[in-house]
Symmetry: C2
Subunit: 697 residues, 2 copies
Amino acid sequence: MTPARPPEGAHAVARRHEGTAMSPSHEVTPIELPDGRVRVVVERVSPAVDDGRFPIKRVLGDRVVVEADCFADGHDAVACSLLWRTGGDGAWHSAPMAQLGNDRWRAAFTVDTLGSWSYTVRAWVDPFLSWRRDFERRVELDDLRVAAREGALRIEEAAERADSGADTTLLKAWAQELNRAATGGAAAEDLRRLALDEARATVATRHPDLRHAWVHPRTYSVTVERPKARHSSWYEFFPRSAAGDGTRHGTFADCEAWLPYVQRMGFDVLYFPPIHPIGRVNRKGRNNTLEPQAGDPGSPWAIGAREGGHHAVLPELGTLEDFHRLVKRAGEHGIEIAMDIAFQCAPDHPWVQEHPQWFRKRADGSIQYAENPPKKYQDIYPFDFESDDWPALWRALAGVFEFWIGHGVKIFRVDNPHTKSFGFWEWAISTIRGRHPEVIFLSEAFTRPKVMHRLAKLGYSQSYTYFTWRNTKQELVDYFTELTRGPGREYFRPNAWPNTPDILPAALQWGGRAVFMSRVALAATLAANYGIYGPAFELQEARALRAGGEEYLDSEKFELRGWNRDDPASLAGFIAALNRARRDNPALQSDAGLRFIEVDNDQLLAYAKATEDRSNVVVCVVNLDPHHVQSGWLQLDLAALGLEVNQAFQMHDLLSGQHFLWQGPRNYVSLDPQRSPAHVMQLRSRLRRESDFDYFL
Amino acid sequence: MTPARPPEGAHAVARRHEGTAMSPSHEVTPIELPDGRVRVVVERVSPAVDDGRFPIKRVLGDRVVVEADCFADGHDAVACSLLWRTGGDGAWHSAPMAQLGNDRWRAAFTVDTLGSWSYTVRAWVDPFLSWRRDFERRVELDDLRVAAREGALRIEEAAERADSGADTTLLKAWAQELNRAATGGAAAEDLRRLALDEARATVATRHPDLRHAWVHPRTYSVTVERPKARHSSWYEFFPRSAAGDGTRHGTFADCEAWLPYVQRMGFDVLYFPPIHPIGRVNRKGRNNTLEPQAGDPGSPWAIGAREGGHHAVLPELGTLEDFHRLVKRAGEHGIEIAMDIAFQCAPDHPWVQEHPQWFRKRADGSIQYAENPPKKYQDIYPFDFESDDWPALWRALAGVFEFWIGHGVKIFRVDNPHTKSFGFWEWAISTIRGRHPEVIFLSEAFTRPKVMHRLAKLGYSQSYTYFTWRNTKQELVDYFTELTRGPGREYFRPNAWPNTPDILPAALQWGGRAVFMSRVALAATLAANYGIYGPAFELQEARALRAGGEEYLDSEKFELRGWNRDDPASLAGFIAALNRARRDNPALQSDAGLRFIEVDNDQLLAYAKATEDRSNVVVCVVNLDPHHVQSGWLQLDLAALGLEVNQAFQMHDLLSGQHFLWQGPRNYVSLDPQRSPAHVMQLRSRLRRESDFDYFL
């Protein structure tokens, strides 16, 4: 990796060559022609999202492996380098690319600072390499002598380009020596040995002739985030219910008492629904009724009242200082507080008076509340992103992020981003990330696939998924194959949730404890990012508001609840084991290494996750049937797991502590959902100690 | 299809929005923001070659079917149109696109003039359509009345945009009527009927609100050529051998006598190797020897001598006037003369003296002849495309095309285009095509796949293929599936050759008459463009220069030959039947409709070709084994052929005249290679007359 001449100059040529339509007139003057001496082509650079329109995503320390098709006309040798830099204006670095065959080339670089990186590919027809390759194949002495003199010229040119360092001295001496030999009657063998000197050729190739180099005109970009963007475990919690039995409104101070519990379960993100003042106009009552009783707290998503809007804290929760202290305490427990950003206003939000032009009006002069006829949401006014005052609106909304970043929040879960304009998000996220590259954005868009993907492309670090409704083996295999192998793998980081305050899926309503266990095991092992809405989840709250719906009965969205975190039936211990497995196994901290495993039972889902170097492999098997023992034979791809055909290997179940000795591709599994519906097994290809044999099946 | 406002204005906005990186500063001023009111997105426009870097290819009269993903945030209705125009500056036309589901939209336009066309997609959030859709779902009378007043405003705006024609009058009246009804206490049913008036809504949608429309920033282009670019039958012939017995040098006048023969066989392109003066320096002798005998004519590809270069005619063939007359006579036979353009010079080509800077020099001052060490081609000097005088070289080479176009040639087969620079070809072809859109270019590049594809992308109308070496069933299925279903289908038009003067494939050397028949049948039916090098082909010349090689013995490349076109063993009649089938069946005139058919015998290759509307379907079965009868069961996809499950249908073999009555998906075929190794069967789904039954198997 050597610092390279910045390719801007070549870029300008490249753009002229690549970007413009050819003149339709035959009477062209030389000035109108692209530089015709550029003979090399660079095509199909990967990775690239929409041909480079959007950045790919990586985290700190990742290797970015770049490939491209590079070739020229004729038989001359082609060489190419990967160029990359941090930010928009750093120095370009370069590394030679290696040939993969079929005109495909590859190189990699490592991203070691947060923020935006760029890369592109430069290629050139290399006269020195062409000469050297041809020289090796020449036979006749006369021919060799002429060719040796040509080689001396090429080496001389490289010496000039080396610009008077040690390389210049070495190359000049080599050129003179070669010239003397060629003109002084040296024998073929001597000429050959001298001309093909390996060590000195390496020096010459350090100074290639780039006069006719071509740089791909597109600069591809990479958004580099902190590792938590790729691997995080979320726990969603209503601070209003932190006080204990649900009779008193919880406070930030009460939340501090929950931190050890959340830490013991192994979550590293504690996410709160909106903590702002809640509107009083058209406030919702318990169970989403339209007539609230005195003391009903309303929905936290109906943001804004006389106490303030998106910059204020609901007085019942405490003060901004209390919030500060909670953020600090959470940090001491290894937990970050994630905030919910919901861009909408209760009718009594101060902005409704201050900026009426940010809202759409109906023909009768009233402000248009949120609706999807015949449904009406009178307690919420959406912003009008077609407002003529949109620049002020955009700045105000971006300012909300800035405000809370200023108060220590670095993770934002954004509510319904798909009902705000894409242009706003692209601008806002890139602007905020430019100043605060450590900030993580989670898109809560449960909507059509292309809308969800666009939000991920334009900058969201993580995205909610359809996992919540994918239950059968085929559904799960199809969906996670698409997520981890489709084009989205470069920009769409799934965050899988078995439940949310809005969604109590039918499976959880009817399947009992075993389904709660299998769903959280799937989320935690299929996806590197996952979350649960608790304590409803670990306490297996399964009562729906009405049959056929997905709303919780007595939802915390509209009332205070009390939760007994010491309930002996709680799944907290099971979840803690899952999160421990995630912490200890790098394979579970990325989605790239997911491969499904064939198993001859449609109720058993099996998959492996492996690190790139296969130093860590986890094999998971989940029984999707909550009622019956299911068993079957797995058909492992041993090579993909880094195993020899006849090798015995140990599978260590990280949930039960059991050890299994497996051998060969076919292995038997049986899971009783009443005990545990899942194996999460670490592969250990060498046995560690004699006592391990105690546990063999 | 109505002429639309040119989208240039929207383009400028689009480019600003799409193309530039967002400012990394949080302190943005409104002027730096993109227009945030544009909420719609256009993605993944297809067809597109390398994201629009290169044009797609079509022929006159084709429908160009364009699709795109179009969507916006939120729930508002989105509409979009396909925009297209001829040339770079014609008026834009537009057509509404229809929804296909999953946010995909489609529309089409027809290309009815030669040359370059452009297309792109415009989308917008449509306030009128949003209002109308929501209105249908509203329930309460108060709500309907307010909504009706809003609708009146939308209709009023459409009336303004209609700009005072009949539509304005109609829409203004409608708006007034609706407003009166809304404020005058009309009943819900009356309001609904009036607001949702279908006929007047159609008028309103003709004048959409495009203020916040978005036009995809890429203008995609189409190269429209004449139908022969897609469907042509080539006969390659050495004029030097036109005289009869090979003792006298053939002339253009002698060639005239071959025209009826070529016409009877059904070829429409007669292609000559280079017709220019042949170099005397380092001339090759018979069978590619280095010592020519007196009278040896040399290789026509060693172009240029004292008589002239690429603008001159070899005196032995006649004069430029003779050539003119031959072109005209050929036209009278429905045949076009294709010319071979080989950009290289014999050492005695006039350009070598006039423009020494166009050639590379070795260290000893000699000009670098063509070589691929240790092989040397001393009779040919390649051009140096890295010459500093490249603009003059490019103009001179393009001038060769212009010269011969001026002399009536409109089809060029280009020799080894992959050893000349890509930039030159892109410039030259687009320049020439801009002036002469009827000119067809065939790329004779037998080289690496990506190089061949690049040449096709940058403008070649047709391309040589690997068909020449694809013999087994699996090879043929894989290769033609790639050609007709891979990305190349938009730009790479295969031209399939079973032999060329350079290539006598091993299969033809050893397989006998049956292989000649099967290979030409495959070429003529798998590919809409194909050619043979004759009379060597139809007379089954199979003698190779040396075992294991592919060079012909006594090749016409280095000597005169005599051919007996009345040889009773000739395949001319068989070839004529193939070309007749091609002429009469539109399905064989395009590669788009190729689908392989399952058959339970690896020696039988079966496939169907169909027109888009399935009005013409041809089913081919070829026995790849030249020695034995092979039979098997075809498994037809009846739906793909436009047939009902239980329908009987007739297969009419266009080669043998046999008729077969088939029914259902499974049908039996048996082919004796000693009679004919191929069925080329036209599907007739209705029986035509009773007597057809005579022929049923």
